[in-house]
């Protein structure tokens, strides 16, 4: 069953077509990868799905329901969890505070309950705290729980982003380069974690440049180049695809120079 469906999405910035009619689907319970050379539109697609950019044309469905007209916070509440390529963690908040930010339906986030419902709020907080500690254990940040996010390394911030998004219990998790800047040992445990979560029924859609990661954990891979989907298939099929190889190797730069040549 298709969890997330993107249908013919277009998005331009000035004269640049960042997304040029992209259609793809993410199966429920799968790990789907999204690859492509730099500037091929991967992050733009993430931003359109999560509501941070408004598309120029096209549709996005989550579990059969259209989400492309919604504001980013509404998309998030519908069940799309995303991380950012560059850490957006509030740096003057501790790791635990970051985690506690994520759960949906927190009573204490309403002004009334913050003022008059302290007991109920505390009960919920205690529950969330336990969950946060459990998740911090699995992303191996438990010892840093009371450290400001500002003091974390780039890789640790990636782990925090993953842990935080898991706290929100989304239907689908969009990971933007989860392994960039993460050391190999941590990388392995991160991949194992994603594998475990997938087995537990979670759906992942992820962008990454590390082909080893992609081929090890992805069931399906989509390839973007210049805002168009040029290929889709299993990691093995993708690695043998001529067009993909061309886009990734000399092809991309050749095409680039051609495009620039035409424009100027």
């Amino acid at each position: 069953m298709i969890m997330l469906e993107v249908v013919d999405v277009h998005k331009s910035f000035g004269g640049i077509k960042a997304l040029d009619g992209v259609s793809l689907g993410v199966e429920r319970g799968s790990v789907t990868g999204l690859i492509g050379p730099n500037g091929s539109g991967k992050t733009t697609l993430f931003n359109v799905i999560s509501g941070f950019y408004t598309k120029d044309a096209g549709k996005v469905y989550l579990g059969g329901e259209r989400i492309d007209e919604l504001a980013p916070d509404e998309v998030a509440r519908k069940g799309v969890g995303r991380t950012f390529q560059i850490s957006q963690a509030p740096e003057k908040m501790t790791v635990l505070e970051n985690m506690l930010l994520a759960p949906k339906g927190q009573m204490g986030e309403g002004l009334w309950n913050a003022l008059f419902g302290k007991r109920r709020v505390l009960n919920q907080e205690r529950h969330n705290l336990e969950k946060a500690l459990g998740l911090l254990n699995s992303v191996e940040l438990i010892d840093l729980r009371n450290e400001y996010a500002a003091n974390l390394s780039g890789g640790q911030k990636k782990l925090l982003a993953l842990g935080r998004i898991l706290m929100a219990e989304p239907e689908i998790i969009l990971l933007d380069e989860p392994t960039a800047g993460v050391n190999p040992t941590l990388n392995k445990s991160l991949m194992r974690l994603i594998e475990d979560l997938r087995r537990a029924g979670k759906t992942f859609f992820l962008v990454d440049h590390n082909m080893k990661v992609i081929s090890e954990i992805c069931d399906k891979v989509c390839v973007l180049d210049f805002g168009k989907k040029i290929a889709e298939g299993t990691p093995r099929e993708i690695q043998e695809n001529e067009e993909v190889l061309e886009a990734y190797l000399s092809g991309s730069s050749k095409k680039w120079t051609q495009k620039v040549g035409i424009d100027s």
């Binding site: 957006q88 509030p90 501790t94 907080e125 009371n146």
Partner: protein, 303 residues
């Protein structure tokens, strides 16, 4: 001397409320409100209108000031909710001036009676329970009222900033992307913060109007906003106690410098400007040597 101390303490208490209010908006929510004095002004005028024209009791005036300024805060955050920090600052500065200029020019609201309004200001604003006390003891009674209001404000804001609501505010001050990705409606939070910040600012306004028993639009110039900013920055943004410490330090510093004329031969008008300059110097020094303010933000530890 004792009466002067009482006066100083009352003003410190009132500015302490303003400082707590701005700290909620800026120190926690990251909202650079350059129009804090607008709430102060609106609270003062609303309370005066209720007590002087409608002959309502003091407590009604107080509530009216709180509600009017809270509504105003909520109202101005509707069109500005999605502005970036610097534009937000400009918009709030303008909003405060609109309030002041309204009361400067629309003098008809005070009617043809003994109260002039407009540039003449309004005098004879009744003080609560004044007949119960002598002129010398009254300030001490009023000080108790102010301290009571300050304590209530402190605990209300403390509750808010310590709650999950406050946690979202802290996330917002470092950018909208993450709270949005976590499903938080950032615009709505801004409105609520501005309403609460406005309401507390209005409270301070009501208190000052009934204490001075005379108000005019010139008491609510934009410069007052920056005095409150100085309190938050010097005391320590993101810390409620810091906001109070800042209020005490700036208020005492500002008041004590007026006695400089007894020690150095200086033109009083030059000294008046110079006192503001000294506050500026104090801010620069704090920024250079303790850039988080005198009282640092408390790290939140969960157990």
């Amino acid at each position: 001397m004792l009466e002067y101390l009482a006066y100083l303490s009352i003003m410190t208490g009132i500015y302490g409320i303003l400082s707590l209010s701005l700290n909620l908006q800026y120190g926690f929510g990251g909202l650079a409100n350059f129009g804090q004095v607008g709430f102060f002004c609106l609270g003062a005028y609303t309370s005066t209108l209720i007590v002087v024209l409608v002959k309502g009791p003091f407590i009604l005036g107080l509530l009216g000031g709180i509600i009017a300024a809270g509504l105003f805060g909520w109202l101005i955050s509707i069109p500005t909710a999605n502005l970036k920090e610097d534009y937000w600052a400009i918009a709030t500065l303008a909003a405060a001036e609109i309030v002041r200029l309204f009361f400067l020019n629309e003098d008809w609201i005070f009617g043809k009676g003994p109260y002039h309004g407009g540039a003449f200001g309004i005098g004879g604003i009744p003080r609560p329970l004044q007949s119960w006390f002598s002129a010398t003891t009254y300030p001490f009674f009023y000080l108790c009222i102010v301290i009571l209001c300050l304590i209530v404000t402190y605990f209300v804001i403390r509750l808010v900033t310590d709650s999950p609501f406050g946690r979202v505010l802290k996330a917002m001050r470092e950018g909208d992307e993450l709270p949005l990705a976590m499903g938080k409606n950032v615009g709505k939070y801004r409105m609520k913060v501005m309403a609460l910040g406005g309401a507390t600012g209005g409270l301070a306004g009501s208190l000052v109007a009934h204490f001075w028993s005379f108000i005019d639009p010139y008491a609510f110039m934009p410069i007052e906003t920056f005095v409150v900013w100085a309190m938050v920055v010097v005391g320590g943004k993101g810390n409620n106690l810091g906001a109070l410490v800042g209020a005490i330090i700036i208020q005492f510093f500002y008041s004590s410098t007026q006695f400089l004329k007894d020690y150095i031969p200086i033109d009083p008008q030059v000294l008046a400007s110079l006192r503001m300059v000294l506050i500026g110097v104090l801010i620069v020094l704090v920024m250079l040597f303790m850039n988080e303010g005198l009282v640092k933000e408390r790290k939140r530890i969960y157990r």
